[in-house]
């Protein structure tokens, strides 16, 4: 039997939220003293300020054995980060219990403990010590860290003079050279460029390959798919699914599909929505040409976005952006901006627009959606963004793929550009493979 790494039993965490004001958890003594008579009076009358209990985690139980690579997935606010904070002992649970077998290394943020005024060398020691390494251990790993980060020349330079790429590399390098038995990683892949993210993923694959336990929190489903053998889906602080990565991800995507975008989430959850609230998406649906709502498309199909917005305060026109992100690096892969109108739109109006991508020749994969509504002249205030709050667009191979030089065993890149090949010179006795490198001048139309 494989020895256990983490046992979690009925873990729960609640926060008290003052209903009356969106006030800070800390306060000044002055406020407290002034409020005291009022509170006493209210309490005497049985009208104390209602403190609302918010359960960030509820009754979470699971066991992880040594060497498992577990991905924790879920939407914003599902409790993923809270779970990691409890397991790494940053905060205490309200109920329940977790047993941890082995040394834990937690990587909740790249660059924890870095100070911009300190040099690269000083920061390596500082950050290493904060992450739980002994000084001698850091000294032993020092050269490897500097190598990995590729910052040899700048090691005596204050990190505030580093480029953001160097900074992130150095920060991750320190964490990567931690040698814990259990590694907890939270969304660190959300920073840095694509090359860096690839490096991070590679390093984490190494760690997993060495038989250490990895606990990986992300809403980057592509990364979870690539890295993890098991997926745990959290929803409203509870375990909604726990099983092999693919099946958990399938459930996750199903749940996302069932979810509808409604205006209320925007008002209530400022973390999810930005902008002044002058305009809000009220409904989003992605449809095929046949008119049914779906998120899965074959290459070459037409994807139709039906977007409804409500204008809450008068807007100087309206422009809509629909963009696709890369499932792995989260960079924008493509975007389309359309000005709906430049006329003034009075408050209280609702609009519905349909935006179409005909013949989507992007390659199979997951493409999170980025939807943006703003005034026609791009006011920096009056806008709304739905960034990865809907199910991602899923493109599958299908019939078009084979006409498009797409090779599922080498699924690199995002787009399929039309390509042609001709051979100009070949050695004697070697014949060109007729028909293998398809020469094509025009895309075949998909017949449906």
């Amino acid at each position: 039997m494989t020895p256990p790494a983490i046992k979690v039993e009925g873990l729960a965490k609640s926060y008290q939220i003052a209903r009356a004001l969106g006030r800070q958890p800390y306060r000044t003594l002055q406020e407290e003293v002034i409020a005291l008579p009022k509170n006493l009076w209210k309490r005497a009358l049985g009208r104390a300020d209602k403190m609302e209990t918010f359960w960030a985690l509820e009754d979470v139980s699971f066991n992880v054995t040594q060497g498992e690579v577990v991905g924790i997935i879920g939407r914003n606010g599902a409790g993923k980060s809270t779970l990691l904070k409890i397991l790494s002992r940053i905060t205490e649970p309200t109920k329940g219990r977790a047993e941890i077998y082995g040394r834990v290394g937690a990587l909740l943020e790249v660059g924890t403990g870095f100070h911009p005024e300190l040099t690269g060398r000083e920061n390596i020691f500082l950050s290493g010590a904060i992450l739980g390494m002994r000084k001698s251990e850091i000294a032993r790993q020092f050269d490897a860290i500097v190598d990995f980060a590729e910052v040899e020349q700048f090691i005596e330079t204050p990190t505030k003079r580093y480029s953001s790429g160097m900074y992130t590399r150095l920060a991750f390098a320190v964490a990567a050279h931690l040698e814990p038995e259990i590694l907890l990683v939270d969304e660190v892949l959300a920073v840095g460029d694509a090359a860096f993210q690839k490096k991070c993923l590679g390093k984490m694959e190494d760690v997993a390959g060495e038989g250490r336990t990895v606990f990986f929190v992300s809403h980057n489903t592509q990364a979870v798919r690539q890295l993890c053998t098991r997926g745990i889906l959290l929803e409203h602080g509870r375990v909604a699914a726990d099983g092999p990565t693919e099946s958990t991800l399938a459930i996750y995507n199903q749940r996302l599909r069932d979810m509808r975008v409604d205006a209320e989430t925007g008002v209530n959850n400022p973390e999810n929505r930005r902008g002044s609230g002058a305009v809000r998406f009220t409904a989003v649906s992605v449809e095929g040409v046949e008119g049914t709502e779906r998120y899965s498309f074959e290459m070459g199909e037409t994807v139709r976005f039906r977007l409804s917005c409500r204008v809450n305060t008068p807007m100087r026109g309206l422009a809509i952006v629909v963009a696709l992100r890369s499932g792995l690096s989260r960079e924008l892969v493509t975007s389309a901006r359309h000005v709906v109108t430049t006329d003034l739109i009075p408050a209280g109006e609702t609009l519905t627009v349909v935006l179409e991508f005909p013949d989507v020749y992007i390659r199979p994969g997951e493409y999170p959606l980025y939807l943006h509504a703003s005034e026609a002249d791009q006011s920096p205030v009056n806008y709304d963004v739905l960034d990865d709050l809907t199910p991602p667009l899923v493109i599958v191979g299908g019939t078009a793929a084979k006409h498009d030089n797409f090779d599922p065993t080498h699924p690199y890149g995002v787009f399929s550009l039309p390509s042609r090949m001709s051979v100009e010179e070949w050695p004697n006795g070697v014949n060109p493979q007729n028909g293998q490198g398809v020469t094509r001048h025009e895309r075949p139309r998909i017949v449906r």
Partner: protein
């Protein structure tokens, strides 16, 4: 081997805790490198990007002592127990500055380092404790300046000098204890650090930094010596300069006070630290 022996014991058990808890000094000890590196960081940051650099450590108490010498020694003619006033003021300032520096640095430390507290686990005591050690380095520099001044004024060292470390440790314990209260309370009530400079100023004038204890009327002396800083300052002066108005009772009161504040601060800190990450 029995089945029971095969079951590994968990390294860590995460559970809700309530009430008072043990100090867990063993864990703090395993993090001693972090403590020292944090203290080193404080010292480096303080003098990075300053034109005079570490010279400030020497200049600050020296300039203050000179101002005191002119204002209080020359103009106001405050008594200095027949010691050269500069020497008298400087020896008092060395101790007082250390005490004040620990409180000032530690007071806001948990807020300044909130990113650490919300992103990584380590014994939270390490953050305010680092101030105790980083301020100690400044004080050691001031002490060597004091040594130069002593040679300059031709003051012969006596056996009493051996007791100086005792008074320094006593000051460190009291300052640390107070800083644990202060930093922990400051997480919840941000006005503690605003009140601190004012409090420290009042406290300094209630302590024999710029004047000798002998200026205080005899019948008030008992109350006066309840201020533990009196014993720290006069004790250090006694160790360095010889004569002073320190009494064994004052040392006893100050020792008891220091230990009580320290123990109370440490346990209080442990009690509230579990909520830091949620509140800060």
């Amino acid at each position: 081997m029995t089945a029971v022996a095969d079951t590994p014991r968990p390294t860590v058990v995460v559970e809700p805790t309530t009430g008072w808890s043990a100090l867990n000094l063993r864990e703090l000890w395993t993090y001693r490198d972090l403590l020292m590196i944090l203290a080193g960081r404080d010292i480096r940051l303080r003098y990075k990007q300053t034109a005079l650099g570490v010279t400030w450590v020497v200049l600050q108490p020296l300039l203050a002592a000179l101002i005191f010498t002119v204002m209080f020694g020359r103009f106001a003619r405050l008594p200095s127990d027949d010691h050269p006033y500069l020497l008298f003021a400087f020896s008092g300032l060395v101790v007082w500055n250390y005490f004040a520096a620990v409180l000032q640095r530690a007071g806001n430390s948990l807020i300044t380092d909130q990113r650490l507290i919300t992103k990584v686990y380590f014994p939270r005591l390490a953050i305010p404790l680092a101030s105790t050690f980083s301020a100690l380095v400044d004080m050691l520099v001031s002490l060597s300046v004091l040594a130069v001044l002593l040679v300059f004024y031709g003051v012969e060292p006596t056996w009493r000098l051996v007791t100086l470390p005792f008074f320094i440790v006593l000051t460190a314990i009291a300052a640390t204890g107070a800083s644990l209260w202060l930093s922990a309370l400051n997480v919840k009530y941000r006005d503690f650090v605003y009140a601190l400079p004012f409090l420290l100023q009042v406290w300094m004038f209630a302590s024999p930094v710029a004047y000798a204890t002998s200026i205080v009327p005899e019948n008030l002396r008992v109350w006066y010596s309840l201020n533990p800083a009196v014993a720290f300052i006069e004790g250090a002066r006694w160790a360095v300069l010889g004569s002073s108005s320190i009494t064994p009772v004052m040392v006893g009161v100050a020792t008891a006070f220091s230990l009580a504040v320290f123990a109370g601060g440490a346990f209080f800190f442990r009690r509230v630290e579990r909520g830091f990450a949620d509140v800060v």
